[in-house]
């Protein structure tokens, strides 16, 4: 029987990244995936004949460039096509567009507000500085400020030096960004409602917070993070759908000797005298290894695969109160023709970009109000892309696929999720969108609605949270997923975590998987 150095549980993108880095370092790695294919939530599927969808996650915004380089992902088929614009249709028949060309963008913003057109560049510059300040923190294992261990104290001291070197002005700016609400932060810069709303929408994705709640401003940074890596357009779409991101990472890992077994659900991790010994599959098969890395979310890892009996009470308590509360859904449409937006008719370049249904901050806040009392947003926030405009192979010639990210669709729905509720969500989405693109209803050939309950059932993400746990400040950095266990380690010797539920988490970023691999190898990233 083959003896593996490391077993990685879960073939999601972070598990695969972790496996690939470990294999690159010469380890014999086995990846065990529950489903019949790898990818986790980064998956493409021909849901309807001829129509391919990124069923769950649908854009590549934050995939770390060093991962693309280190794992030679383009060689294994990864090609990221930039999304060029964001269109926000407005109820009054007008629209707000944000373009990647500076002059075009300024001209469009000036149509709404001369002040905002000017503020836009300064805003970008401030966030550029903030993104620069944050970026190094993404690649480190966060030190535990309560620890008295020497290496942790050393890391803490370095962190303090780092913040001091930023200068007080930037430190304060960072403090503001971390603690303010997206709406308040943007109020300090802009006056155009649709601009504030569309920008603040990025702060609420994957959370159960409204745009006026403190703690939502931080995610604004993500848009600017990509620029630091020489990528001028942060948001992109992977050719072939997000499944091709996973496929490329998997191929890269396999080329380095990683073995991937699909349809192999792990039932539990074997722990003996505080040390990991391997895993047991649901079929009963035992596979031994001294190192096991779990890509599952913290709840499934600790309370499911490991079991409370092996863990300190504090950790169990922390994991129990770690918040998931999935709030987003996906609606995937197969279209016979392109949507015709009343505000901007025709096949313009705006169809190659994103469309955001976020006409005002109040609109988003009201969508949240519905959800916080356990209902689907009657008029939800939506982020829409038409991947077939960038990659025609996603749909039959002349036809299109439309991917709609929807919020809020709370996991904890009053009365629970049913087929009827799922269709009601689909109807709310189509009805709302049809107000801006009246031909949509007639263009729909097929419709797929994916609720947080579906995400949990199919992908295995607890409560359908797309980030493996909310990205709120009290669940970030050294608190992700639990104090003292934020550095990819666990109280079980030899057991590591590598999912989005660890620092820095969230999005198809891959940083958690990469950082975890270095933690396993005992090296700095």
């Amino acid at each position: 029987m083959t003896r593996y150095d490391v077993i990685v549980i879960g073939g999601g993108h972070n598990g695969l990244v972790c496996a690939a880095y470990l294999a690159r370092a010469g380890r014999k790695v086995l990846v065990l995936e529950r489903r019949e294919r790898v990818g986790g939530a980064a998956m493409s599927e021909e849901v309807f004949p001829g129509f391919r969808f990124s069923v769950f996650s649908y854009v590549v915004s934050l995939l770390r460039p060093e991962i693309i380089r280190d794992l030679e992902l383009p060689r294994y088929g990864l090609h990221i096509l930039p999304l060029e614009s964001t269109l926000t249709p407005l109820p009054n028949g007008d629209y707000l567009a944000q373009w990647s060309d500076h002059d075009q963008n300024r001209r469009e913003l000036a149509r709404h507000s001369l002040r905002d057109a000017e503020a836009y560049d300064e805003f970008g510059l401030v966030l550029h500085h903030m993104a620069r300040a944050i970026k190094p923190l993404l690649a480190v294992a966060p030190p535990d400020p309560t620890s008295l261990r020497r290496e942790q104290l050393f890391d803490l001291f370095q962190l303090r030096t780092y913040f001091k070197d930023l200068g007080t002005k930037r430190f304060h700016a960072l403090h503001k960004l971390l603690t303010m609400s997206a709406a308040d932060y943007l109020d300090e810069w802009f006056e155009t409602e649709a601009l504030k709303a569309t920008k603040s929408a990025s702060g609420i994705i994957g959370t159960m917070l409204g745009p006026r709640s403190p703690g939502t401003a931080y995610v604004l940074l993500h848009h600017y993070m990509g620029e630091l890596d020489g990528v001028f357009r942060a948001w992109g779409f992977a050719r072939g759908g997000n499944g091709s991101v996973s496929a490329a990472i998997a191929a890269s890992a396999q080329a380095r000797g990683t073995e991937i077994r699909t349809s192999s659900p792990v039932s539990n991790v074997i722990v003996r005298s505080g040390k990991v010994r391997g895993v047991v599959l649901e079929g009963g098969e035992e596979i031994e290894a001294d190192l096991v890395v779990s890509g599952a979310d913290p709840r499934r890892t600790f309370l499911g695969l490991v079991g409370e009996q092996h863990l300190p009470g504090e950790l169990v308590e922390s994991i129990r109160r770690f918040r998931f509360r999935g709030s987003s859904a996906k609606v995937n449409l197969a279209l016979g023709e392109l949507p015709e937006f009343t505000c901007l008719p025709g096949r313009g370049p705006h169809l190659r970009g994103a469309t955001s249904i976020s006409p005002s901050v109040d609109y988003l806040e009201r969508a949240y109000d519905d959800a916080k009392y356990g209902e689907i947003s009657r008029r939800p926030y939506m982020d829409i892309v038409i991947p077939s405009m960038l990659d025609p192979a996603m749909a039959p010639p002349g036809k299109h696929v439309m991917s709609i990210f929807v919020q809020y669709a709370p996991y904890h729905l009053n009365g629970g999720w049913t087929d009827a509720k799922r269709e009601a969500l689909g109807d709310a989405v189509v009805d709302t969108l049809s107000e801006y693109a009246p031909n949509l209803k007639g263009a729909i050939l097929h419709r797929q609605v994916v609720t947080p309950a579906d995400i949990e059932r199919i992908v295995g993400l607890s409560e359908g949270n797309i980030f493996q746990g909310e990205l709120s400040l009290q669940q970030m950095f050294f608190l992700r997923p639990a104090p003292a266990w934020s550095r990819y380690r666990t109280p079980i010797r030899g057991l590591y975590q590598c999912g989005s539920g660890t620092h820095p988490g969230g999005g198809v970023m891959g940083a958690s998987g990469r950082n975890a691999a270095f933690a396993v190898l005992g090296e700095p990233p």
Binding site: P145, S181, G215
Partner: protein
């Protein structure tokens, strides 16, 4: 040496008294001293000797009807609270003493910070102080500060009425609902000065009968970047080496001072200080968190944007401690030499009576 103190509240009074040891002080105000309620820290109490300070410490601090009939009552006496909670939830009753102890530990941490100018968050002193909280205390603090009060209470308790009562302290004076981030910090802030297990903000009243002259200040005189005194609405000039204003910083720096003396970036920051009217200005016995949340829903779509010159800068994490009300002014000092700020919009914030006046005057005397 002469000084002018502008304002009617306890902060102005405390600042004036401290300055009067070395300065000849004129106190000016244009509004009747409102009755201020809150916690009077011990050093402030010493300064306020021979001024009426009325402590109000009800034994039973909350009474809320229960949906199933009866009432949930919370008392200064820990045992009586536990008994009352026990009737609605055994689990919550068992957790009550631990919750109270942990919140009290964090409140005491804030209390120490409040009696001085805001700390340097990257300073060694602050780090040592925070570590003295112990591992559990430090984790509690870091986790709790950005949290919604609703989540904190959900972590601990199951009874809606209990959570409603406690939640009210997290949003009192703030335009946020209990599900908004940062409200757990406000909950702690309001706990400062109270014994463990008592969560409504302290209600000590100070009747600031002062020798203040009721005269409206028209503007603060500035010359070559230095405050030289004030001009009254009636036209009289009062020269001073030191001016301390307890008014809202927007009023002081954007109306009384010609903003030409300030960096435009700072003016912009001052204009952005948020002081919006909250859903609740007093502690209410709310039947549930949803009740508070819905009350907030009603207020949040108000069409008014940033209302300038509301009484007090909101106490949110981005306007607290070394960020209060904006980082450049957090140490009570302004870019205009000899002009200092105090009042509830400054650190440590509303409800800590006289503390900012005390801190600001001491800073001004040090120069």
């Amino acid at each position: 040496m002469t000084a002018v103190v502008i304002g009617a509240g306890v902060d102005a009074l405390v600042a004036a008294r401290l300055l009067s040891r070395s300065h000849s002080v004129t106190v000016l105000h244009d509004e009747n001293p409102a009755e201020e309620r809150g916690w009077v820290p011990p050093p402030v109490r010493t300064v306020l000797k021979n001024i009426a300070v009325n402590d109000e410490e009800p034994d039973r601090w909350a009474v809320a009807p229960l949906p199933q009939g009866g009432r949930l009552e919370l008392w200064r006496d820990m045992g009586r609270s536990v008994d009352s909670i026990h009737r609605v939830s055994e689990r919550d009753a068992a957790r009550w003493p631990d919750f109270c102890a942990r919140m009290a530990r964090l409140a005491r941490f804030l209390e120490r910070i409040y009696l001085d100018a805001p700390p340097d968050p990257l300073g060694v002193r602050f780090a040592v102080r925070a570590r003295l909280l112990g591992k559990e205390g430090l984790v509690d603090l870091m986790r709790l500060l950005p949290m919604p009060i609703a989540e904190l209470l959900d972590d601990w308790f199951e009874n809606d009425t209990l959570k409603g009562i406690l939640g009210a302290a997290g949003i009192m004076g703030l335009r946020q609902g209990p599900r908004s981030g940062g409200t757990a910090f406000l909950f702690l802030h309001h706990h400062v000065g109270s014994p463990p297990g008592v969560f409504p903000p302290p209600r000590t009243t100070v009747v600031s009968e002062t020798d203040a002259q009721k005269k409206k200040v028209q503007r603060i005189l500035v010359n070559e970047g230095r405050a030289r005194g004030v001009v009254l609405a009636v036209g009289t000039e009062i020269a001073a080496d030191l001016v301390i204003s307890a008014l809202h910083p927007q009023r002081t720096l954007l109306e009384l001072v010609d903003p030409v003396w300030l960096d435009p970036e700072l003016v912009r920051a001052i204009r952005h200080i948020r002081s919006r009217a909250p859903a609740f200005t007093t502690f209410v016995d709310a039947p549930s968190l949803d009740h508070l949340e819905r009350a907030h829903d009603a207020s949040k779509y108000g069409t008014e944007g940033i209302t300038a010159l509301s009484p007090v800068a909101e106490l949110t994490l981005d306007q607290a401690l070394w960020m209060r009300p904006v980082p450049e002014l957090a140490h009570y000092r302004t870019p205009i030499k000899g002009l200092w700020l105090c009042g509830p919009s400054m650190h440590p914030g509303p409800g800590i009576l006289g503390a900012s006046g005390y801190n600001a005057a001491r800073a001004a005397l040090r120069g």
